[in-house]
Symmetry: C2
Subunit: 458 residues, 2 copies
């Protein structure tokens, strides 16, 4: 297997065994980016020079027996709304050309774990949308099928991994922005519990809904990223100082119960999604898991999506106020923020109320369950230039609104085409439990089938 | 001791022992209201006829050995923003004369426990203020010193108890509205964890900040009221379905640790409050409790009060929209709601953000503590007609913003005058623990001194 299509856990083993150096890996990564990213448009800034220096330092540490752990020497790239010192933090706009002086806390923690920061990644403009057809930084392509969207807003974060340019990325998720691209590109992603991974250094779209989360090729890799980036940050006012984690219970799927809302009644799903989802549900049951039909009180996905969108527009207009009357935003994006800026206080308050109520409804529903099982999206990746389905974020926004963790994993589609994403949403602080569930589900037939198909794209 | 100045727990014992009937108690209560409420103005609606019927039914149950429990036959009155079938729910305005057809869930639950609903209580207009100098329903007096405010917005809920008109009341608390009147009138009050006592049938000021909570003469009485009113209500979208309560730990004060913020640095406190509070802190330490100085990140009481006020104005304008362009609101109150209605979306969003951040700061601070100890208010009751101190709710709003439970208990003032309120704020769902702490603190010297002084007011 080609090195650059391996997951970070595998690469870490190769580094530890002396079968690979970080310098060699980093050179391969930079070469791959140079060779393919003119077409894929996953990157905004590429940091070749500092990456080479960092990789050499990592190799030196390893030779000296001072490895910083499994991420030491692993190339990582970061969505362009998360500050990386030395390059701009554009948020996918042309309005913020200033070079960041300080790393975001997540980036600083990745560096402290030895990760080699390769560059920053293309995204939907302002993180408010899901095609990553970016008017300033290029139309980001889905490496599984060029001409199709990688999803968004963290489209570059998914395309860079699926295209073999880097094994790990950070994205951000406001209403589904790490999980939708993971689903569309056949990857794994985690939207963590709100307050678990600090957001210091993130240029917010919506401080109410945003989380930073990793995208990767495997659940083990998500675990590496979570452990490296989570934990209290005194500079983040919503960072949680508590040790909310109970000791991790190692349960088998046969000891687990998942709640399954009636997806078809909640949003119009493509039949390939419904049928593929039915296969993973059956596989879970065959593995002994119990699936219970559930209803989440107050969850009207269309109405909640509109509420979340309004909150994003209102809060986005606050965060990007300096750009709102200047240059560097597309007309469409500016119009959305302006809509938020002009919104009546009653509408804004009622939108927050819908969010508050759904959060309670979710917590009531998830109690006693190991997770809630849903398709990640009602559709698969769509063609660039076609109209983006309005309901794309209908299943993902729930976790943002509830502040809950959610894992997206890829399964094979019944038609053998582009993959389908499956989402497990957990109770608050059950992030590690979700990753454990992901590891167990990796053995199920529809997940293995996709993993095999993915090799065909390398 | 005069029956009508006894707490409900004592009255329940007398009823159970056959030394008192509910009819006799109810007649005394109605007579006391008739004799004194022209001056005190605690009531808006008095339900003599139904109360007499309910009391007779209670006595019949008791005689038949079918008592519904300790509240069976006990008179209870309800703040006039909580629906009581058969009388209007005015919210302290003249804009809502319609007679309620259905009891609020809390009232229905009290009836199911056998409580005799006596009537509805005066309040600050629209629950947005703390003097209860109501332009439509009269200037409610503090029975401890006529001419002084009972506090607000649940002023009638405190005055009715302190004036010996009823042993138990329900109030509502948006930024301190049950605790401030309790402090000003020398009573006990509980603002419960958000979602614990359902708010179905409450005419909201602010759905984000409002809780329904009891006022009483003793911590035991608060326990009776909490147990009778708490629990999931499927019609309340923020009602919590979980059993969040761990088994109650019976700890001694000597096993407890309280966090003590620097009240003087947070708001300008009257010296009598500071000195009286120092006495209860010393008494707690003498009882073996540990007091730790703490800082709550993000807590700037003045700024948070203004944020909470804006949210109340914005949400209040939504809830009372039907009255906003009609008659029945005072010019002052209408102007506040109109200010909310006109507020810019960015200001509204930033106010919600301040609330979100403080909630996290509070939860981080309270972790591992048995509670946070503060004066309930920086001042004691003030004279009607004087300017209400702007900082009255500075110490109380914290619990509303955090969704946390808070108990207010009365202590003697060092000058022997009007009482001082002390507040214990607990972690989420620690309501019963706070009541247990209150019972233990009832034995401390400054609390006993006030109880003795209170007898002098009968």
């Amino acid at each position: 297997m080609n090195t650059i299509f391996q997951d970070a856990s595998t690469l870490a083993n190769a580094l530890a065994a002396g079968n690979l150096t970080s310098v060699a890996l980093t050179e391969k990564v930079l070469a791959k980016i140079a060779a393919t990213d003119n077409d894929i448009r996953a990157f905004i800034s590429i940091m070749g020079e500092s990456a080479r220096t960092d990789a050499a330092a990592s190799d030196a540490r390893r030779l000296a027996g001072q490895s910083l752990g499994p991420l030491d020497g692993i190339p990582v790239a970061v969505k362009d709304n998360i500050a990386v010192a030395g390059v701009p933090t554009t948020s996918g706009t042309a309005a913020f050309p200033q070079v960041a002086k300080v790393d975001a806390v997540t980036v600083a923690r990745l560096r402290a774990a030895g990760a080699v920061i390769i560059g920053t990644l293309n995204m939907h403009e302002g993180a408010l949308g899901s095609s990553t057809d970016n008017p300033h930084w290029g139309r980001c392509q889905n490496p599984l099928r060029v001409g199709f969207t990688p999803g968004g807003s963290s489209g570059g974060s998914a395309a860079a991994i699926a295209g073999g340019m880097v094994p790990l990325t950070l994205g951000t998720d406001t209403m589904g922005s790490v999980r939708i691209p993971a689903a569309y590109c056949g990857l794994w992603a985690l939207k963590p519990t709100k307050g678990r991974i600090p957001v210091t250094g993130l240029s917010h779209l919506s401080w109410t809904l945003d989380s930073i989360g990793p995208l990767a090729r495997s659940p083990s890799d998500l675990g590496l990223m979570l452990l490296a980036t989570e934990g209290f940050d005194p500079y983040d006012p919503i960072s949680n100082a508590l040790t909310m984690q109970k000791p991790l219970m190692h349960k088998a799927l046969s000891d687990m119960t998942f709640g399954v809302p009636d997806a078809a009644a909640l949003a119009e799903c493509e039949s390939v999604v419904t049928e593929s989802f039915a296969r993973i549900a059956a596989a879970l049951q065959q593995a002994g898991a119990k699936l219970l039909p559930i209803k989440i009180e107050g969850w009207f996905p269309g109405a909640l999506r509109r509420a979340g969108l309004l909150i994003s527009e209102v809060e986005g207009a606050v965060g990007m106020e300096s750009a709102l009357d200047g240059v560097g935003l597309s007309d469409d994006f500016r119009a959305m923020l302006d809509y938020g800026r002009q919104a009546k206080s009653s509408r804004v308050a009622l939108a927050y109320r819908q969010l508050q109520q759904l959060a309670v409804g979710f917590n009531n529903a998830v109690a006693g369950l190991d997770g809630i099982l849903l398709p990640t999206t009602p559709q698969r990746a769509f063609a660039h230039g076609s109209i983006a389905p309005a309901s794309q974020a209908d299943f993902t926004a729930l976790a943002n609104i509830a502040g809950a963790p959610a894992l997206s994993l890829p399964i094979a589609a019944v038609d053998g085409g582009l993959p389908v994403g499956v989402q497990i949403i957990g109770g608050l602080w059950q992030d590690l439990e979700l990753i454990e569930i992901g590891k167990l589900m990796a053995d199920l037939q529809p997940v293995r089938e996709w993993a095999k198909q993915m090799e065909g794209h390398e």
